[in-house]
Subunit: 150 residues, 2 copies
DNA sequence: TGTTTATTGTTCATGCTTGAACTATCATGT
DNA sequence: ACATGATAGTTCAAGCATGAACAATAAACA
């Protein structure tokens, strides 16, 4: 009756997910270092990326996209707004919401940051074929989906 | 000359890594919620897991394993020690280091927490075959390795 | 031996994230 | 129109993680 027989480390899901978490953590920290010269942090880059793809977003929608509290957005945006990287314009129809969009300099900084990010990912995923890479993304999208609605 | 042609979102590595990061974030938050009844946080679970597998570790080694600063460990351990989940015993040969090990109740709590963790992973990775799962882990170990030595 | 350098763990100030309470605005239903 | 409830954003206190500076100890070497 050795309980090691049922240890999670013998389970593929567990063992491999631990690797996912570690890799994610490593990349996050490496990204933070690589973005430092741009005076940008990963969380701020996430904001810029989402505003680039979804201009006119509200803060609430942005918070949901980033899986983060609304108050976090409130604390995050003024820094970027003061650096003239994004605009917050109040919606004409609903005076509660603020519509977010990148300024040209915000877009320019985003492009620089994305080059940095891509450089890091190219180095880090060098050994994965495009097919493996797509399979990876597919699994991860399923994982995120499984946690979405609940 | 549309710069969208070279946007990172068209690049498999970028697009799929974004999915990895999002999934990781989701699982982390779901795990935090699932562990709440045990009054345990993901970072604390990481500590218990590592001490279970590597009893007698020093705080420095633990910090490196967890990809975290030493001061973080210093702030993290007293909570767990006060709950009688782990012991810190000074090394006889080197009076600087503290040897860490789980107490029986620490091990018991770890087992409970692992059941919770496994339950979450089973739900979340339900759609991935063992082979896919292993490939996933293999890629992630390569990613972590690529960031290791530098 | 004595001096210099490295390493372990701690302390502390800083910044980030969270969740709860709050205000202002809109939507619903009577 | 009016009451009720829902939603967007803010404020605030609390908890975590970080990195720099520090004390104690060990290692390297003259």
């Amino acid at each position: 009756m050795n309980n090691k027989q049922e240890l999670p480390w013998d389970n593929p899901r567990f063992r491999n997910w631990v690797a996912v978490a570690r890799a994610c953590h490593s990349v996050e920290r490496a990204l933070a270092g690589a973005l430092a010269p741009l005076d940008l942090k990963p969380a701020q880059l996430d904001v810029l990326m989402n505003l680039y793809r979804h201009p006119g977003m509200s803060q609430h929608d942005l918070a949901r996209k980033l899986l983060v509290g609304r108050s976090n957005i409130t604390m995050l945006l003024p820094q970027l707004e003061n650096r003239d990287l994004l605009r917050r314009e109040s919606d004409g129809k609903d005076k509660r919401v603020l519509r977010l969009s990148l300024t040209p300099s915000g877009e320019a900084l985003l492009m620089d940051a994305l080059k940095v990010y891509m450089g890091l990912l190219d180095k880090v995923m060098e050994q994965s074929t495009p097919a493996e890479c797509d399979l990876l993304g597919e699994q991860m999208r399923r994982v995120a989906e499984a946690l979405k609605v609940e």
